[in-house]
Symmetry: C2
Subunit: 121 residues, 2 copies
């Protein structure tokens, strides 16, 4: 029997929000803190923030690795590395179509995070 997850981005957004332990209302447990920190760590890096922003701002809502290397000025392995971290955190989805791998934002993940951090309610 473990403490409930601070947020569950696998479930539906509504359920995820409902399940949230209010971060600012009562002390969270060590395991809840570890879970939330894992998610925040995925975002708390300049290159990954730029990746999130660059992909989210796209009209198509997605981008492949080769679209991102040049504007960010980093090598392809480095971009792939960061994208994997974002996918593992549930912030991005990965869709391989032919030779290309298309990455897209999961808005529910950002909204869940946003709701957790908000002090109002």
């Amino acid at each position: 029997m473990s403490t409930p997850p601070v947020l569950n981005i696998q479930a539906s957004p509504a359920l995820a929000r409902a399940r949230c332990t209010p971060l600012l209302r009562e002390p969270i447990s060590a395991s809840q803190a570890a879970d939330l920190a894992r998610l925040l760590k995925a975002l708390a890096e300049p290159t990954r923030l730029r990746l999130v922003s660059a992909v989210a701002a796209r009209e198509e809502g997605e981008a492949c690795v080769c679209d991102l290397t040049e504007p960010l000025g980093l090598t392809q392995p480095t971009i792939s590395h960061h994208l994997k971290i974002l996918v593992d955190a549930g912030i991005f989805t990965r869709d391989k179509r032919g030779v290309w791998a298309y990455y897209a934002l999961v808005p529910e993940a950002m909204d869940a995070l946003s709701a957790i951090l908000s002090s109002t309610r």
Copy 2:
């Protein structure tokens, strides 16, 4: 002439939000990403999340170092170290009264972060 800050938690909350470059609307600059990453890094650590939660959940809304060492199971220098990081990030305020140093959450900082990450406007 530099790009506008992604968020300005020194200003009033309303102003801070107004000044926000929409993270998910257009690609943010490298310096904006660095600024936002600095703030997120302050939160993206299990111990610091527990500190935020523990202090925010207090009825008084504040706590001193000696209140926090025992429940978190860490030494006093370690707690002081993390509190300094949170203060430097603008997430906590520090108020020295006599021998004690009282730390309190800055709700506007959390709300500004929450607004930045939200995908719904």
